[in-house]
């Protein structure tokens, strides 16, 4: 009995050591940091047939990771911007679609990160705001829905209008759940997301039910019609940059400090005069506004939206990418979106043909298995996420310290 216990302990220790070593390697080995992206770049340049989705994607992720991790200077941002603008020019329609999704989810992630990462309010119904933005826009402009106002330039007015309405919805959700914390809050927000989706599905008279809203008119940028993912990608990209800029500035201000204080110790924050009710609602409102803005762009790109586009998966995916990327950090969100949204798509046509091994359909058949394994690996190696905020990293360190103290 005792021996078995000892064996378990030894195994735990061995696993801990392996874990620590792997993490150190991830951080320290120059191979991962510099040589791999360089090699990929060289290979990509030398053999045009290699310059397809996967190496491009891998390169993009690595460059982004390195830039976000190491620098905040103008040069780094310029390289990033150049890459984000240049890459889609070389891409086909399928790849541009992936890129659009990555950018859109980055924007949603930035919004949710304000609620979850900054203010510490676990929201599992974030899709509600995304859906409301999309539907508010669609119902106003689509002829089928009885709206059908000629929008033209007013597409640009619809974005702030939908954001404001989504923010109001955020406050409406926030008010009844303010007193809830942790798990309870998560469950209620989960229900809220479902309520919105079911309303879209069942209120035929307003939303056209499961048949959806279609023939949503194209947006225009001056005289240019914004069709397809390519043009709208740039719109989302602008949204991402604005949202990221706003989120980081708010975080580094009195408002961001108030959120952090609430997350750390709500009662102590109140005792310092922080109106916790107001700041929680503010977090919900700002997060919801960003989600609503994303919804408008999504509706404009799809030109037809359905209630089933807004199911629980969206909330879960956005939350997962925030966690994978590193909670509390906008940069982490960017990386999280690239991996979580990009990886399953890129794995679609993945196949191995090498010597005697011919696994032509490994990607098509097992892409979600590979994807899931990758997520598990990331969470095991870096539970705090790939690019956590300084504070999140500290919290995880604290938790580990407590655990090891309890273990001994």
């Amino acid at each position: 009995m005792m021996q078995r216990f000892e064996a378990t302990r030894a195994l735990t220790r061995a696993l801990d050591n392996a874990n620590a070593r792997a993490r150190a390697a991830f951080d320290a080995i120059p191979l991962i940091r510099w040589i791999l992206p360089l090699a990929l770049g060289v290979v990509g340049a030398l053999s045009p047939q290699w310059f397809d989705t996967r190496p491009t994607y891998a390169l993009m992720v690595l460059i982004t990771y390195l830039l976000l991790r190491t620098s905040t200077n103008v040069f780094g941002l310029a390289v990033l911007a150049a890459m984000l603008v240049y890459l889609p020019m070389e891409m086909d329609r399928f790849e541009r679609g992936i890129l659009f999704d990555i950018a859109l989810y980055t924007m949603l992630g930035i919004g949710l990160n304000i609620v979850v990462g900054y203010a510490g309010l676990l929201d599992l119904g974030y899709v509600a705001f995304f859906a409301s933005g999309a539907y508010i826009f669609a119902l106003v402009v689509a002829p089928e829905a009885g709206g059908g106002w000629d929008i033209g330039a007013s597409f640009w007015l619809m974005i702030p209008a939908a954001m404001a309405l989504a923010a109001a919805l955020g406050v409406a959700l926030g008010l009844p759940v303010l007193r809830l914390r942790g798990d309870y809050l998560a469950i209620v927000t989960l229900g809220f997301g479902e309520i919105i989706r079911l309303m879209l599905n069942n209120r035929d008279d307003i939303t056209n039910g499961p048949r959806g809203v279609y023939l949503i008119p194209k947006a225009h940028f001056f005289d240019k019609e914004l069709t397809g993912p390519y043009e709208l990608y740039f719109l989302v990209l602008a949204g991402v940059f604005i949202a990221a800029f706003a989120a980081e500035r708010i975080r580094d201000s009195r408002v961001g400090r108030a959120w952090e204080a609430i997350r750390e110790d709500e009662d102590a924050a109140s005792a310092m005069g922080v109106n916790t009710t107001f700041y929680k609602l503010l977090a919900f409102a700002i997060g919801a506004a960003i989600g609503g803005g994303g919804g408008v762009i999504y509706a404009a790109k799809q030109t037809a939206i359905f209630p089933r586009d807004f199911d629980l998966d969206v909330s879960i995916n956005v939350l997962a990418l925030v966690i994978i990327g590193g909670m509390g950090n906008v940069r982490g969100v960017v990386l999280g979106a690239m991996l979580l949204i990009g990886l399953p798509e890129v794995l679609r046509d993945f196949s191995i043909e090498f010597a005697f091994i011919d696994l032509a359909n490994i990607g098509a058949d097992y892409r979600l298995v590979i994807f899931g394994a990758a997520l598990v690996a990331i969470m095991v190696l870096r539970p705090e996420g790939l690019l956590p905020s300084r504070r999140r990293a500290a919290e995880f360190e604290q938790a580990e310290m407590l655990e090891s103290e309890l273990a001994t």
Partner: protein
């Protein structure tokens, strides 16, 4: 001069338990008042009533001629009262200076819109807030610990950081809940010096809860003694010290001792 703080017949019940029973006390401006009593006497409950954490079941609390017992929790700081906690409650994963900056919350004006646009006024405000925070940390004896995470500070430093954070609220009344709890004699002496400096240099009015008799007798001008939720004595330290009821509350009555049940 009218009292700064006046507690009028405050009773607080929890289910069947009466934690405070008809307690009244007054605190004059620029004095250091102490609340003492054995474990479970209702000291912390009294603090929690004063700071809005609990509403009194009956009775009133007045501060600067204004009734404060119905204010929301965050309204107490705005009214001019600030506190520390018995079991230190810092924002553990924020740095020392960030803790003090949160303390200045009600005196800063930046909202989310100006935070995004960041006009010169916001930059100025932030700069002067940081300067104030550094000064407060120096006053509390935390020079060069500004960028340390609160949870990495030594125990005594954490206590002093809590005071610096409470001072950042710019209170007219400071409530200290067992400021020397768990300290060694050296640290406790430093804390007593700090508390005196608060009154003498910052013209602060202070109410403190203490277990350590030496601290209370040494630093307080007036003492209120609670036992089983009731005020059993009040007055200058030497008066309270000789009060028969206080001695009984702390040491038990003669009969019990002779009963051999103590």
């Amino acid at each position: 001069m009218p009292p700064l703080l006046s507690v009028r017949n405050v009773t607080r019940r929890f289910e069947g338990l009466t934690a405070l029973n008809d307690v009244s006390m007054e605190v004059e401006p620029r004095t250091i008042a102490g609340v003492i009593g054995p474990n479970g006497a209702g000291k912390t409950t009294l603090f929690n009533v004063l700071t809005g954490f609990y509403r009194p079941t009956s009775g009133e609390v007045w501060f600067e001629g204004r009734r404060i017992d119905r204010l929301p929790l965050h309204g107490i700081a705005a009214a001019g009262i600030s506190r520390t906690f018995q079991n230190i409650r810092l924002f553990a994963n924020m740095t020392a200076i960030e803790n003090v900056l949160v303390g200045q919350h009600i005196h800063l004006k930046t909202n989310f819109a100006t935070a995004i646009v960041r006009p010169p006024s916001v930059t100025r405000e932030e700069r002067s807030a940081v300067k104030t925070a550094v000064e407060l940390l120096r006053f509390a004896g935390l020079t060069r610990r500004e960028n340390e995470l609160a949870r990495n500070l030594a125990y005594g430093e954490q206590r002093r950081l809590e005071i610096a954070r409470a001072l950042a609220v710019r209170p007219r009344l400071l409530l200290l809940d067992e400021p020397t709890a768990g300290m060694n004699p050296g640290e406790a002496a430093g804390m007593i010096k700090l508390i005196r400096a608060l009154r003498d240099d910052m013209l602060m009015t202070i109410v403190l809860i203490e277990h350590s008799m030496r601290v209370v007798m040494g630093v307080c001008e007036r003492i209120t003694v609670l036992d089983h939720g009731e005020k059993i004595s009040e007055g200058r330290p030497e008066e309270v010290q000789q009060d028969r009821r206080v001695i009984e509350a702390y040491l038990g009555t003669g009969q019990i001792i002779t009963d051999g049940r103590a």
